[in-house]
Amino acid sequence: MSAVRWPLVREVLRKDLEEIARSRQLLYPLFVLPVFLTGDALLVFSTSVLSHNNPRLGLGDAFFSFASFLLVLPVILPILLGSAAVVMEKTNHTLESLLSTPLTDTELLVGKSLGPLVPAMALTAASYAVYGVGAELLVRSHAPGASLPWGSFLLTGLLLAPLLGLLATFVAIAVSTKAKDVRSAQQLASLVLLPLLIPLILIGIALGPMPLYQLALAAAVAALALLVLRVTTLRFHRDQILVAGV
């Protein structure tokens, strides 16, 4: 396999970002989801803070639970964008001319993966930042003295979330190369990923804010992401992409 030429990958990425920015179908949910989920998480956390004389649920656990709940973002956002990444080139008939450029299959795969990953990760990081800062401010003003499990929070937001994002992107791209249209690709990718995501969040919450457990979960997701990447790479051939799903 020859070396990836990053200037070409960057062109694919730039083009995809420009297209996302011009597509209402993609852009609205892209911003609506993080805003609502972060808002929800903060809102529910604020009720725990305000009623924190209830000793059954510690503030730290609540803070961590809603941070885990935000893991929906690094899965849903890549599904939204990644499912469209290849199949939209096909339904818009742009795939053939894109494949006629000197881009290699690997360069195309990398560019196509970064397209969903970059905005999804930026928005996920922003959501975690807003949630973390918001929660800290709430605690300082209404429950001074309580301390939040920042280690687990950072591992969730900075390690587990990006790894989940990678996994979701690779799945979405793989589905996108075989699909007939964007909608069916999104459905199929959701069908594959949601049964994985929900137990992951629940297990994460059940295990509680223990950094070791978060590391273990991250390792499991990383292994799975590598496996999916391997399969996606093996199946990502221009010939099959061009012929599949038409």
């Binding site: 020859s2 200037p7 070409l8 062109e11 694919v12 083009k15 420009e18 297209e19 011009r22 597509s23 818009n92 008939h93 742009t94 795939l95 053939e96 001319s97 894109l98 494949l99 006629s100 450029t101 000197p102 881009l103 290699t104 299959d105 051939h237 221009r238 010939d239 061009l242 012929v243």
Partner: protein, 320 residues
């Protein structure tokens, strides 16, 4: 004069029973304008995709300037040699005309003032300068096609491959594409195009291939006509019927007679010696003759006859 594109037993199936393209062997010489003809579903687009390395062959192979399309390492170099106009223009409709060209230029490794200069040159020569900042999706079909052609030519490829470049264009737009083809040919580029416009193929191309799953013929347009029609003469009657047709067909040296309204077209084996005999028989039988004229067959007639004469393989045409 080397061979630039070579199909060598080129075969491709899409998983169905019979291959879409079956055992094609022909070559396009450097600097020649070569037209690929064939009915819908004949495998023209498939052949073009195989010859440009977009699809892999199921059997046989193709070479571009000596490079085997099966060699993945050579892929980028092969694609750099070729400027492709796909069957669907395939523009990024939400991006501007200029951005569409810039993107492709960069993917072909161009940049800076060189790229800007080429974009301006293409926009000027295809009359798109005042549309440079319009979104590609707002262009008419003809302008989209021109933009797609500009995109294919931007990296100044040695070989230009166009899949039905004229289909769906108005006469003026079609003429501008034809002129562009003639200009490319004059620049010494190798050109492969598929088309249903047989008049264009006749006028523009050095050689044509007729395919229907398999290769039916490769020849110059004149050679193909000569091969299929030795000599054609049209006899126009006031009214022609099956009896008239049989009378003419009964003359020794007449290969076949084609009846179209009041007109009989005779395909003659040797020369025109049989014409007086045929005319005499018709007159004696009471037919009135309006005119007798030698006709130069069109490529279209040759093409239709070739398809008629070639048994259908079950690979194509069935059902669709």
């Amino acid at each position: 004069m080397g061979e630039y594109l070579v199909a060598d037993d080129l075969t491709r199936s899409y998983g169905g029973a019979a291959p879409a393209v079956d055992g094609l062997s022909f070559s396009v010489r450097r600097g020649e304008l070569f037209a690929l003809l064939g009915p819908n579903g004949a495998g023209k687009t498939t052949t073009i995709r195989l010859l440009t390395g977009l699809l892999g062959p199921s059997r046989g192979t193709a070479y571009v300037d000596g490079m085997d399309v099966r060699d993945a390492e050579k892929g980028p170099e092969i694609r750099r040699r070729i400027g492709l106009l796909p069957e669907a223009a395939g523009l990024y409709e939400s991006l501007t005309v200029h951005r569409n060209l810039e993107l492709y230029g960069r993917l072909f490794g161009l940049s800076g003032t060189d790229l800007e200069g080429r974009i301006r040159g293409q926009l000027t020569s295809l009359g798109l300068t005042d549309r440079a900042d319009h979104r590609a999706g707002t262009l008419s079909k003809g302008l989209k096609q021109r933009l797609a052609i500009a995109r294919a030519l931007l990296h100044e490829p040695e070989c230009v491959v166009l899949d039905e470049p004229i289909t769906g264009l108005d006469p003026e737009a079609a003429k501008s594409v034809r002129d562009a083809l003639v200009a490319l040919r004059a620049q010494g580029r190798t050109i492969l195009l598929s088309t249903h416009h047989l008049e264009d193929a006749d006028r523009l191309s050095d050689r044509v291939a007729v395919i229907r799953g398999r290769l039916l013929a490769v020849d110059t347009p004149a050679g193909l006509k000569r091969r299929l029609f030795r000599r054609l003469v049209a006899i126009e009657l006031s009214a022609a019927d099956a009896t008239a047709e049989q009378l003419a067909a009964g003359v020794a040296g007449v290969n076949s007679v084609h009846r179209d309204g009041p007109r009989l077209t005779l395909d003659l084996a040797r020369g025109e010696e049989e014409v007086p005999e045929a005319v005499e028989r018709l007159v004696r039988a009471g037919y009135r003759i309006r005119s007798v004229a030698a006709i130069e067959p069109s490529l279209e007639e040759a093409y239709l006859r070739l398809l008629e004469a070639s048994p259908r393989t079950d690979s194509t045409g069935a059902g669709s």
